[in-house]
Amino acid sequence: MSILVNKNTRVLVQGITGTQASFHVRRSVDYGTNVVAGVTPGKGGISYMDIPVFNTVSEAVKETQANASVMFVPAKAVKSALKDAVDAGLELVVCIADGVPIKDMMEIRHILSGTPTKFIGPNTPGIITPGEARLGIFPENILQKGKVGIISRSSTLTYEAVLETNRAHQGQSTVIGLGDDMVIGMDFIPPLEMFMNDSETEAVVIIGQLDGAFEEMCAKYYADLSYKKPVISFVAGNAIPFGHKMGYAGDVIAQGKVTAEDKKDAMKQAGMIVVDDINDIHKKLLDIFNGND
C-alpha cells in the first residue's frame, strides 16, 4: 500500500506540451507512472510522446478515466487550470508551479471547498510512491520502496529527509511535498491520517517550517490519536532572525513571535520524536526499526 497515488492511479498532465512538462513527464513514464492523458487547451487531438492530448480536463477524463492531475502550467494559469480539474471531478491535483499569487490561492481554496478534489502544492516537488507513481519533479533515483512516509513543507529538505531514510537502510512508502508557499492546498493532517491508516507505512517523517501554525495543528491532531505510529519531526530555523521585517501584523496573528523552538516543543509534547539536526533523522529511524525487529 501507499497513500494518495499508486500504480493504478490514472494520471493526466495539465500543460503537457510545455518544455518543463515534457522533460518530467518522460521521466515519470519511464519510471512506470500510468500517464493516460495530457491537456493543453487548443492542442486537443494530437498525440504527444504517445500520450493523447485533450482540450479540457473533462474530455480527457471522459475518454481515459483519469483520476489525478499533475499541473505543469505557469503560475498565472494555475487558477483556471484548477477550475477545469475540479469541474471534471478529479480526486487529486498536484501543482508544481512556483510563484502563484496568494490571492489566486485564496480563491482556489474557496473553489476547492466542498468538492472531493485534493490539492497538493503549489511550489512543491510533488508526490511520489517509489516504484509506482511519480507526480512532479522528484529525483526518483534517490528513492527506494519502503516503510517510511515523508511529509514536508520544504522542497529541498524533502530530499534531505529521503537521504536520511536511505542512511537508515529504509525506503519510503510515499513522499509528499506540501509546498513552500504561504497558502497551500493541503496541510500535514490529511496525509498524516492516511499514513496512520496505511498498512505499509511504519513510521512517518515530518519536515516543518517557520511561519504558519501547521506544525502546531498537526501536533494537536497527533496527540489526540488513540493509535499512533512513530513520527520523527524536524523544524529548521533556530539560528534565525529571518527576513526583512515590516510591521507587526504577522506576529500579532501568531500571538507573538513563533520560533522553531516553539514548534518543536508543541510536537514533542504531542509525543513526536523531535530532532534538532536533520542529520539525526536516520539515527532515530534506526532506533525505531531496530526496536521493532
Binding site: G99, S154, L163, M182, A213, I240, H244, Y248, V252
Partner: protein, 401 residues
C-alpha cells in the same frame, strides 16, 4: 515587496481611507514648503520614510541628527528646516532595522491631527485557515506586540469574505470592541472597507494602520500606514511595482534578484552559504551555530541552477568582506552537478578564492563533478552530507585563523 508610509497612505486614500494632509520632501527647503502648503499654521509631523516599524522609538546614528527619533512633532515654522536638515541623509535605527539602520532619503511632512483615542488595525492573511483577517486592538503603552503575547483576548480577529469584505455586523462588532461612539460607525466602515478594497485590488499581503486616530468628532484618520505586496502578483500590478525602492535593499540583494536569487544578510557571523532552498538554508545555519560559528549571509539560488548563474551567485558571496568561509549545499532534483562544478571553478578562478570553500551536492553526474573540482587544483573541499560539510568548513576556517 514593501512601500513607504506616504505611498501606502496615498493608495489607501484612493480607496476611501481618511489620511492627514501631507507631502513628501527630499530637501529641507521642500520640507518647509510642504509644511506651509499642507497646514499653514502647524503643528506638523515630520516623518522619516524608511520601511520599518517603531520609527518614533528609533534613534539616529549620527550625532548631528539630534536626539529625536524618526518621527517628530514640530510646532514652529523655523524649526522645520532645522529638523529636516538633521534627519535627511542620516541613518535611522529601530528595533526592526537592527543596528545598521537605514538611511533617510526623504521625509513626509504631514498636518498634525489631534485625536482623542488611538487604535491598531491590520489586515493580513491567516494562512492556516486560510482567510483574509482583520485585526483590531486598542493597545496600551507597551504596544501591540505585548498585547499579542500576553493578552491575545484583547485583539479582535475577524475573518472577512475575500470578495465582499467586512459585513455590517462585523464593523459594528469592531466599533463596540473599541468603545467608539455610534457616530464613528460610518468612519470605521470607511477605514475597514478602504483597507479591504486596497488589499484585494492591489494584491497586498499586509496592511497595517498603527495607529488610527479618532478625532473629537468621531472621524477616524490613518495616522500611519504600512503595506506589503505579493511579489508573485507584481506582474499584474504595474502601478505598485514601480514603487519598489531600491535604496531599501542591499546592493547584493539587488544583484542577486537580477538572477532570480534571494540574498539575505545578517548582523555578525562569518560564514557565507549558497543553497537552493530556504529550508536547507535554515538547517545549514542551525548546524553552523551548533558548531560554534554563525552565518553572515546566504544566497538561495532556487531552482534551475546553471553554470553561469552559479558563477554569478558565488561571486556575490565571495566579494562580501565578512565571509571567512563558504558552504555550498545544493540538493538538486535534476540538477547536473558537473555544470554546478564548472560554475564554481569559473567563479573561483575569476575572483580568486581566498577563503575555504566546501561543496556538497546531490544530483546527476556527481562523479564527473567531483573530478572537475579535483582537477581544478583550487582548494575546494568536497563533503558527503550536510553535517560533514559543516564540520569540514569550520575546521578549515579555524585552521586559516
Amino acid at each position: 515587496m514593501n512601500i513607504h508610509e506616504y505611498q501606502a497612505k496615498k493608495i489607501l486614500s484612493r480607496f476611501g481611507v481618511l489620511i492627514p494632509e501631507g507631502r513628501i520632501a527630499y530637501t529641507p527647503n521642500e520640507a518647509k514648503n510642504a509644511a506651509i502648503s499642507v497646514f499653514p499654521r502647524g503643528p506638523w509631523m515630520l516623518k522619516a520614510q524608511i520601511q520599518s516599524g517603531a520609527r518614533e522609538k528609533g534613534h539616529f546614528i549620527e550625532e548631528t541628527a539630534g536626539k529625536g527619533g524618526g518621527i517628530r512633532l514640530i510646532k514652529k515654522r523655523r524649526e522645520i528646516i532645522k529638523a529636516a536638515k538633521q534627519m535627511l541623509g542620516a541613518t535611522l535605527c529601530t528595533p526592526q532595522t537592527g543596528p545598521k539602520g537605514k538611511p533617510v532619503g526623504r521625509i513626509y511632512v504631514e498636518a498634525f491631527v489631534k485625536v482623542k483615542k488611538k487604535f491598531y488595525a491590520a489586515m493580513i492573511i491567516d494562512r492556516v485557515i486560510p482567510a483574509l483577517t482583520l485585526l483590531i486592538c486598542e493597545p496600551d503603552e507597551k504596544g501591540i506586540l505585548d498585547v499579542a503575547v500576553h493578552h491575545p483576548d484583547k485583539i479582535l480577529k475577524l475573518n472577512l469574505n475575500l470578495e465582499k469584505g467586512a459585513r455590517k455586523t462585523q464593523i459594528e462588532k469592531a466599533r463596540k470592541f473599541l468603545n467608539l461612539p455610534e457616530r464613528s460607525f460610518p468612519y470605521l466602515r470607511n477605514l475597514i472597507s478602504g483597507m479591504h478594497k486596497a488589499f484585494i485590488s492591489c494584491d497586498a499581503t499586509m496592511i497595517e494602520i498603527n495607529p488610527a486616530g479618532v478625532t473629537r468628532w468621531g472621524r477616524i484618520v490613518a495616522l500611519d500606514a504600512k503595506m506589503s505586496f505579493d511579489n508573485n502578483a507584481l506582474y499584474r500590478q504595474p502601478n505598485i511595482a514601480v514603487l519598489q525602492d531600491e535604496y531599501e535593499s542591499e546592493e547584493r540583494e539587488i544583484k542577486a534578484a537580477k538572477f532570480g536569487f534571494k540574498y539575505s544578510d545578517f548582523d555578525g557571523g562569518s560564514i557565507g552559504c549558497i543553497v537552493n532552498g530556504d529550508g536547507i538554508a535554515l538547517a545549514a545555519m542551525d548546524l553552523i551555530r551548533k558548531n560554534g560559528m554563525d552565518t553572515t549571509c546566504f544566497l538561495n539560488v532556487k531552482g534551475g541552477v546553471d553554470k553561469d548563474k552559479i558563477a554569478a551567485g558565488i561571486k556575490i558571496i565571495m566579494t562580501n568582506p565578512r565571509v571567512e568561509g563558504i558552504l555550498i549545499n545544493i540538493l538538486g532534483g535534476f540538477l547536473r552537478c558537473n555544470l554546478l562544478a564548472e560554475g564554481i571553478v569559473s567563479a573561483a578562478s575569476e575572483v580568486g578564492l581566498n577563503v575555504p570553500l566546501v561543496v556538497r551536492f546531490e544530483g546527476t553526474n556527481k562523479e564527473e563533478a567531483t573530478e572537475i573540482l579535483q582537477t581544478s587544483k583550487l582548494p575546494i573541499i568536497i563533503a558527503d552530507n550536510m553535517e560533514d560539510s559543516v564540520d569540514k568548513l569550520i575546521a578549515a576556517v579555524k585552521e586559516t585563523d
